[in-house]
């Protein structure tokens, strides 16, 4: 079979992917297949929320308070049907989860990209330049890594709130969250990239480029970066799961997005007030969604780490 595929020319990117070791190890791991299915369907559901959600919970005008606390799979007093029940504001829990996952995923993805951008640029430059600059950057990373990321995010969130005028708080809330979580997570990226860069820097192709007088920035971005991107991808996937959890934690603590546009963490915060009174569905469904999302992304990250590690092959 490999004979056949090898003779098929020219090979497109898709074909090359299906021929790769990564795809092979993916097919061999049922857990990963399940995790990927769950993650992809959750992400799709979140992306398509405006089209598949039965109601729009982010439009306060469409809510009716008298729909509140309807049990799952039942009709409210106002005649609306709720699959996962409704919360204390008469919002459909299913729709709120769909819209809420959008907020959670958006914050997590943006925060991870932000952390990557900072981490990669600092790590690359530190690993390549070395010396005092390297020491300073890495000591800052070490200090930051010795604190739990959530504490740092809380601190940054507090400072940002102080800087931004109160009238802007709500419109800026999502961006502040992204910056807080991003700044809390850059150190991992910086460390990994710096280590890989220091290895690459010694290699002949870098020396060759340098002798040819190529601009250091171009060497870094054009030559070194592509070679250190493998481990970054692994950290990014696991970092994404962490960012989802961190966003949920911050929102659970009440410092996240406004309650009229809840993320999964906000929904869990709202729901936990109603555990004793028996309205379990307000907490249960968002919590299960969060667990599934974080777990599946984490499992994917684990698999990617193994798949990209030549020593484990």
């Amino acid at each position: 079979m490999s004979e056949l595929t090898q003779t098929a020319k020219p090979k497109g990117a898709v074909a090359r992917f299906f021929d790769s070791d990564v795809w092979f190890s993916f097919r061999r791991s049922p857990v990963t297949i399940v995790a990927a299915t769950v993650a992809v369907s959750l992400v799709l559901a979140a992306l398509l929320a405006p089209w598949i959600a039965p109601y729009n919970p982010f439009n306060p005008a469409s809510l009716n308070l008298m729909d509140g606390f309807t049990e799952p799979l039942s009709e409210s007093m106002m005649g609306n049907y709720f699959v996962f029940g409704s919360d204390n504001q008469g919002r459909d829990v299913l729709s709120t989860i769909l819209y809420g996952s959008r907020v959670s995923l958006f914050v997590a993805v943006m925060a991870t990209l932000f952390a990557m951008a900072i981490g990669i640029s600092l790590g690359l430059s530190a690993g390549y330049v070395g010396g005092v600059y390297d020491s300073v950057v890495m000591r800052i990373a070490d200090i930051q890594l010795s604190f739990p990321a959530i504490l740092i995010a809380l601190l940054i969130f507090g400072v940002a709130r102080g800087i931004i005028p109160p009238s802007q708080h709500e419109s800026m809330a999502v961006w502040v969250l992204i910056i807080a979580i991003g700044l809390a997570n850059w150190a991992q990226f910086a460390r990994t990239v710096r280590g890989a860069t220091m290895v690459e820097r010694q290699k002949d192709y870098v020396s060759a480029a340098r002798i040819m007088g190529v601009n250091p920035l171009r060497i870094l971005v054009g030559h070194v970066l592509p070679n250190v991107l493998g481990p970054v991808l692994v950290i990014a996937t696991i970092g994404l799961a962490l960012a989802i959890i961190e966003e949920a934690t911050l929102s659970f603590l009440g410092v996240g997005v406004p309650p009229t546009q809840p993320s999964l963490g906000t929904l869990i915060r709202i729901g936990q007030q109603f555990l004793f009174s028996g309205e379990w569905w307000i907490l249960f469904f968002p919590a299960v969604t969060l667990v599934l999302l974080a777990l599946s992304v984490n499992l994917l990250g684990d698999w990617l780490r193994d798949a990209l590690n030549p020593r484990l092959r």
Binding site: M66, N88, Q89, P259, Q273, F276
Partner: protein
């Protein structure tokens, strides 16, 4: 012999232990007293705790009626309407054994009026306090002040000698983070003595055997346990770790009442929850209408009142635990009438056409500032109102903050639209008018967040302070309420209902100012 002794001691121990454990009450609520210095913080939780150790000249019963405590009689001096005469209870001693006399009252009132005191606004009209004899005190006011005794229900009496010995003549400056001996040590005349104190964790009070009251309290020991998290507090009662829980979340009332061995007492609190908005021509900071202030149009205010469904808020958000109202004053307050309390039925269509008449057929946008940890379900109420106003086209952004961050926005008049609650410790309308309605100037209008201003009304409000003819005064109050309600100066939602949960062998009445007194507890 040995065995007999052992048996006897076991029996003796059992006999001694049973009544003691039955008379200890473990009392949990959301927060701890901020300080034990009695004049340092004018704050409900702090007063409630201190009322067990210190006593005031006057007090209120659970109906809100004024009654004597350390004073047995209080009246205006004959021939001088500006002087109040208080006759003191005799035979009262402090916990350290010192006698309670007029010089302690003079000292305490002077301390409460001093610069660093947080109680001073209640005594702003006092000119001087003098001791006539050991058991008579005269308070000279700046003018006739017929309602001054109402201001004395949270002003505690300290021992002058004790204060001087322990260097606590000056009040602790709480805001500046100051500390003094009186913050953790006490010497009051109250029914309990402080045994131990671990702030925010646990405080223990033991019965004062020498208290003046003829009937001794049934509770001999109080263990006070602040538990901030509502679910944890409820769980502690369910698992038998505490006996009384104050601040029961409304959603848990049904569950607790349905649990055998636990009962829930509910009763109205002397506190109204309302929305306020910015007055004046200046455009709102948070609105898409940039050339004028929509709230300044009476039609818009009327439309908002018609859009809000108070019954739905009561039923869903408050689970029946609120008393919807059309006037920003609780029924306990002098000046309240059922006519004022009435509110219009919700009518979304009428609200929409009013809004269109006012020139906003498509509504407008605005930000609503709400606290999320101060009043019962405060954030959920605001969220519900966001939805209701959304139905008539007013698009509201919700800014929800803990009270510590909400307060500065309120006090500095930075809010366009806000939620606030107002308790009335004096049980008189003037307290509401002074702070919420009067133009913000001098010591008036501290919480007039919307900067409403009506000079005619201001003159009437000021006249209440010195009017001696109570009938005439009540007529003026009625006139002021007429305007306040007609102008929709505020948008009241409901009066809060309090719920205390306890083991079912305990009886504790709900106190209208949310200051339950454990010395009134009885056991079945």
């Amino acid at each position: 012999m040995k065995r007999f002794l052992l048996a006897a001691s076991v029996i003796a121990l059992a006999a001694a232990a049973t009544p003691v454990s039955a008379e200890t009450v473990r009392w949990a609520r959301s927060g701890d007293a901020l300080t034990l210095d009695p004049h340092s913080q004018n704050q409900g939780v702090t007063h409630t705790f201190n009322h067990h150790i210190y006593e005031t000249l006057l007090d209120r019963d659970s109906e809100g009626t004024l009654q004597g405590r350390l004073a047995t009689e209080w009246k205006v001096k004959e021939g001088d309407p500006t002087v109040w005469v208080f006759t003191l209870r005799q035979g009262v001693t402090f916990h350290d054994g010192a006698a309670f006399t007029a010089e302690d009252v003079v000292f305490s009132l002077d301390r409460a009026r001093s610069e660093k005191s947080n109680m001073k606004q209640l005594h702003a009209d006092v000119e001087s306090v003098t001791a006539v004899d050991d058991y008579t005190v005269e308070v000279k006011m700046k003018g006739p002040s017929p309602l001054y005794p109402n201001n004395l229900t949270n002003t505690f009496m300290m021992d002058k000698t004790w204060a001087e010995t322990n260097d606590v003549v000056e009040v602790q400056d709480f805001g500046a983070g100051e500390d003094n001996y009186a913050v953790r040590n006490t010497n009051g005349t109250g029914p309990y003595k402080l045994v131990s104190r671990d702030p925010d964790v646990r405080s223990v009070l033991a019965l004062n055997e020498n208290h003046w009251a003829e009937t001794k309290p049934a509770v001999t020991e109080i263990i006070y346990l602040p538990i901030a998290e509502a679910a944890t507090r409820v769980a502690a009662l369910l698992s038998g770790e505490v006996d009384i829980v104050q601040d029961v979340p409304v959603q848990d009332i049904e569950r607790l009442a349905g649990t055998s061995g636990i009962k829930v007492e509910t009763g109205p609190e002397n506190r109204v929850i309302y929305f306020g908005y910015k007055f004046g021509e200046e455009p709102l900071k948070s609105s898409n209408v940039t050339d004028k202030n929509p709230f300044n149009d009476p039609k818009v205010r009327e439309a908002m009142e018609l859009a809000i469904d108070r019954e739905a808020i009561k039923r869903v958000v408050m689970r029946g635990q609120s008393i919807p109202t059309g006037v920003p004053t609780p029924p306990f307050v002098n000046g309240w009438t059922p006519e004022l309390d009435a509110y219009p039925a919700t009518n979304v269509e009428a609200a929409k056409s009013l809004l269109a008449d006012a020139g906003y057929p498509d509504g407008f946008t605005v930000t609503l500032d709400t606290p999320n940890n101060r009043y019962v379900n405060d954030e959920a109420i605001s969220q519900a109102v966001v939805g209701m106003l959304g139905q008539i086209g007013i698009k509201v952004t919700l800014a929800s903050r803990p009270i510590a961050q909400h307060s500065p926005v309120i006090i500095n008049n930075e809010s366009d639209f806000y939620l606030l609650g107002w308790g009335v410790p004096t049980f008189d309308s003037a307290y509401i008018f002074n702070d919420l309605v009067h133009t913000k100037e001098g010591h008036y209008g501290a919480y007039n967040v919307g900067l409403y201003s009506n000079p005619e009304l201001d003159a009437k409000i000021e006249s209440l302070g010195t009017e001696v003819d109570l009938e005439k005064r009540d007529a003026t109050i009625a006139e002021i309420w007429e305007v306040v309600k007609g102008d929709r100066v505020l948008l009241p939602i409901h009066n809060q209902v309090l719920a205390y949960a306890m083991k079912d062998n305990i009886t504790l009445e709900v106190h209208p100012e949310n200051q339950p007194r454990i010395y009134t507890v009885t056991f079945d």
